[in-house]
Structure formats: C-alpha cells, structure tokens
Subunit: 225 residues, 2 copies
DNA sequence: ACCTGAACACCGTTCAAGT
DNA sequence: ACCTGAACACCGTTCAAGT
C-alpha cells in the first residue's frame, strides 16, 4: 500500500525508522524487507539507498524507533526498587514490540532514545553511591540481561510452538521430553523436569533481577545498601 | 565444492549439523544458505528437504553441533569457583565459533550436547545446597546471561567496525561520540564516557558473573556460602 | 528411500537514467 | 536533490520426475 495519505511528509531518516517499525509489527523481522519498507513510505526500493547505506543501517534506525516512548520509572523509593522497575519496564517495552529483542540485542550502538534512558540510569546509580566505573558496568550488565532474556522470551519455545501449539502445551511437551530421558544418565534433569519447565517467564525474569540486585548491593558500603 | 571425499558417509541429520557448522565458520550466519549446506554435503539444495522440514530445523541441528565439545570445568573448589568457570568456559566456547551466539540465543530447545552440560550443572548446584527450584532457575539465569553477553560481544560495535576499523578505533570513536553530546542534557554520559567505553569485554563479562554469584550466595544458608 | 531439475516468489544492491 | 526501471546474483521452498 503506497502510504494512504495524499501529501507525503518529507522522507527523513527518522520517518524511515518509523516505517520499518510498522512493517516489523505487521510482518515480523523475517518479513522486513527493503521493498516493503519502501512501499510503506510510498517509494520504490532503490530509493531507500539514497537515505541509507544498506539494510544494516536501516536496522539501526529501526533500533532507535523501537526504543522511542520507553519511560524511566518514577524517582521514588530506594535505588533497589528503582533499578528493579527499570528492568521490568525495559522488558515490558521490548516484549510489547514484535521481535524487538532480535533487532535490539545485536546492536551495541545506542540511538538517542536509549541514550536518554542510560543518562538517567547513570544518574541514579551515582546518586545511590556506586563509583563511576561501577555505574558504567552496571548499566551494561542490566542492559545485557534484559535484552538477552527477552530475546529468549520472544523466540518460540520449540518447533511445535512455532506451529500453532499454545505455550502451555509446548511447556508440557518440554517437561515430558525431560522426563523421558534415561534417568541413569540424566538423574537431575529427570528429577527437576517440573522445576525446570513450570515457572513462567515473569517469575524467571524477576528471579534474575533480584539475584543481580543482591549482587550489586555488595558493591556498596554497608550503610548505603 | 562437492565434498572432496569419494565415498559419501550416509547423510544423517547429525552430519547435516556438522556441515552447517562448517559453512557457518566459513561464511557467517548471513552466508549460511540451504544451497551452500547442500553443496557442503555433496547434494543439491532440494535434497535437504528430505532430511529436514525447513531451514529452521537445520538451525536446530546447527545449534547442537555448536555445543559439541563443550566441556564442564573440573569438579574442584567451592561452588562459586566452579560456577564461575562454567560461565567463562561457556563464553569462550561460543566466542570461538563464528556467530555462535546468534544461532544459539534464539533457540530454547536444548540439543543433547547442551543437555549433558545442564545435567552436570544441576548436579553441582544441588550439591552446593540450592533447592531444586532455585537450581533450575539458576541454570536458566546463567545460560541467559552468557548467551546474551556473547551475542553483544560477537556483534560489530558499530557500522564503522563492521567495515575494517579495529576494535580499538571503534571504541575510541564511541567514546568521542559520547563526549560530543551536549553536557547540559547528558552530564553523566559525557562525564563517564571513559568508564563506559574503556573496559574490555573480558572485564565486563567477569563483572556480571561476580555480581550474579554474589546474588546467588544470598540464596544459601550462611554456613554454605 | 533418497535425490534432482526446474520453477516460483521472493531477496539486497547497483546503476544508468530520469526530473 | 531525490526517485525510478531494470537488471544481477542470490534466496527458501515445492513438486513432479527420476533411480
């Protein structure tokens, strides 16, 4: 569909990112082609190469478009609860956008929208008493964890889930597969099949966040924990 | 090159995974096509569909082939040092195989080679005193962290690094970009530009591992930490 | 049981040519 | 300054046909 307005807004790089985001939402990352993004902005594929060196660069624009609208949590409570909220919001934000983690996780270069958040997070970390060096490492650690986690979360659990099966069915199937392993060779996997498959993603995510926060607390002098 | 031996070994699914791994090593994930894997095993592309439903399923085989040869650390020292070694080895293993994290990180279904490692890790976690539920969550957390981290590590830091620039140059460029931000709007990013860009990946990885291990220790009764 | 040729509907990218 | 048509060298996948 050549974009349904009559007047074309000027074709900025930012508009390209937005168009890519719409195609992503509609077709997923596998369906995101230069040709489709071009059609989305009412232009032919070859024209995109005037604005962008190649598809990689378009994905950089998409990367930033994905992070648009991400909001930092309110500045209330101790550093621990603020950081916790940060992680949960970041997860939610990615989770709400189809294939977002697949796009974002392979891209170190942060766009303006992510920079805004990092600036704010660094500020809170320093205020909480983390050293400059630690604060820098912490933002990297949290970003890596959230992106890595959602990347898993947004991938189909298995081939069976990729084709219509519900998450519940896929999880049960996974548990059965573990229980079917030879118990002499895999005593722990068979015994813990339930523990390994039951917890939902929300619980798993929170578990990781709390462990990391506990670990971070140990970096602070006792009275600031 | 139709594989250079005269006698074709029978074309098992495992052989397919191995062939895919060789193509991956040579051409990277972007260059891994059904046609090339087919040639690698001395067959035409269409023939692969006899052994495999689609490319997705071939990537599952590749996923397992990548994890082949991964070794658990020796069973010496306390749980902390054993788990630390686990993480560092897992990172090394992925890092040594081109684009390995990109393949592995989107695939929850573990192949036999990963199952072997998880079985062993669960055993050590339970022995260390973690509850069954915690042990299960911990293997998931550590796996997610390592995969997420290496995924970043194996991606080019920026477009400039993708084209020939060395890591050192790319890092310096990133630092300069941060320092060039308006300091009123980004006081922390500009001030911490050095701290954010200087640490090498080894250091960053270890930082995360140590924080997580500290966090895990808090799950254990005091005398087992 | 396993492989092939040929075809289909796509890709990303380049480039001369248009306005 | 920006866009296009046409082409190139690829893709994944299907399917009738071969052995």
């Amino acid at each position: 569909m050549p974009n349904d307005d009559d007047t074309q807004p000027p074709l900025t790089r930012e508009a390209l990112g937005l168009a890519a985001l719409q195609v992503l939402e509609r077709e997923g990352l596998a369906g995101l082609s230069m040709r489709k993004v071009a059609t989305e902005v009412g232009v032919k594929a070859a024209s995109l190469y005037w604005h962008v060196r190649n598809k990689e660069e378009l994905l950089d624009l998409l990367n930033d478009a994905i992070m648009a609208g991400a909001e930092a949590p309110p500045r209330v409570g101790d550093w621990r609860s603020q950081l916790r909220e940060y992680c949960h919001r970041h997860r939610r934000h990615l989770l709400d956008r189809r294939d977002a983690a697949k796009v974002v996780a392979g891209r170190l270069a942060p766009g303006p929208n992510l920079l805004r958040l990092q600036e704010d997070q660094l500020d809170r970390l320093r205020e909480a008493g983390f050293s400059d060096a630690d604060a820098a490492m912490v933002t990297y650690l949290l970003g890596t964890y959230v992106q890595g986690f959602v990347l898993q979360e947004q991938s189909p659990l298995s081939a069976s889930e990729a084709m219509g099966a519900s998450r519940r069915e896929a999880v049960d199937a996974a548990a059965d597969q573990l229980r079917a392993l030879p118990p002499e060779e895999f005593p722990n996997l068979t015994a813990l099949a339930g523990d390994l498959t039951e917890p939902d993603m929300e619980t798993r995510f929170a578990f990781g966040v709390e462990r990391i926060l506990d670990g971070l607390a140990a970096l602070l002098p006792a009275e600031k924990r």
